[in-house]
Symmetry: C2
Subunit: 187 residues, 2 copies
């Protein structure tokens, strides 16, 4: 067994960055090879199913990130709800580089992506909503209210990333994070 040149995490981070920047169709295998530090043919060794497999691996990588940085935080009953909220907002800001980079949910849902990854995208969105609803319940809101706030939170994140990208200004994203905080802490 010859050693891997690039470890899985570095590899997936590079691939994720390219998909986020260029979208699923816009990212060519040459782009993916360049950003990952491997050659095209080596990518096929790591991901035998080709481009679709790479996309799935990146989506799965994001689910793992979410599990560790969102779900686990919200389920950590050792922290008060407002501490959990500020932690996940910090983590969200970090993964999106303060609003400077696009969401994979958007990047992977254009072109062939929606067709190829429809189930995974639906699942991923469901995790967001289910987890955020739990946070609302822990804040003391009723089920329906908590569900509404969860949806508003997800919509604010996705929408503000697009508007930030189009205006070439991160202010909408930082504004949205502040509004999300008020959504749960304002009476």
């Amino acid at each position: 067994m010859r050693p891997q040149k690039i470890d899985d995490i570095k590899l997936l981070e590079g691939l994720m960055t390219t998909f986020r920047t260029k979208g699923y169709n816009g990212a060519s295998l040459n782009d993916l090879a360049n950003s990952s530090g491997l050659q095209k043919a080596s990518l096929y060794h790591r991901f035998p199913g080709g481009k679709k497999d790479i996309g799935l691996a990146v989506l799965n990588f994001i689910e793992v990130w979410k599990e560790q940085n969102i779900v686990a935080v919200i389920n950590n009953k050792d922290l008060k709800p407002d501490e959990r909220l500020s932690t996940i907002l910090k983590n969200i800001s970090s993964i999106y580089e303060n609003g400077e980079c696009s969401c994979v949910m958007k990047a992977m849902s254009m072109g062939d992506g929606l067709e190829l990854f429809g189930d995974e995208l639906k699942f991923g969105a469901g995790i967001w909503l289910k987890t955020l609803t739990q946070l609302g319940l822990d804040f003391g809101f009723e089920q329906k209210i908590a569900e509404g706030k969860a949806m508003q939170t997800l919509v604010k994140i996705q929408g503000s990333l697009i508007v930030s990208k189009n205006l070439n200004n991160t202010q909408p994203f930082t504004m949205a994070l502040n509004e999300i905080e008020l959504l749960y802490t304002n009476i």
Copy 2:
């Protein structure tokens, strides 16, 4: 002068649909030709600059739509602010087919699109914000408040379209339109 097989409006509607569905990179010239009713070479006759020109024409087509269906409505002082609001929400719901179709702002900002159309996308977003801010002022809100509500409105539209697309369910979009109404009419 030989007559046009397809008039400009039908042509641009078909092209817009394909870009919205597949994204800028995902839409091939064959796709664009099929959806417009013309052959590839005929598209080059109508748009000598090729794919980029088609993209610009579609973005311009949307600006014209916005001018007629958003800007003109909000500037129509014969209507009360709440009448103007409900009219533009109806128009927004209509252009996005009740949330079933993606926003061009998102579709055109992925891949090469952001680079090619960065200025146009920024301009288009600016029109939304400027116009919606005027609506807020006419409702009697202060400048800063009106600007915040305009941003929230744009973010809700964009974000809810993505979430609707990913969940394969138009509920987030219709929910967002209701929330936008409350944003202006709730005290």
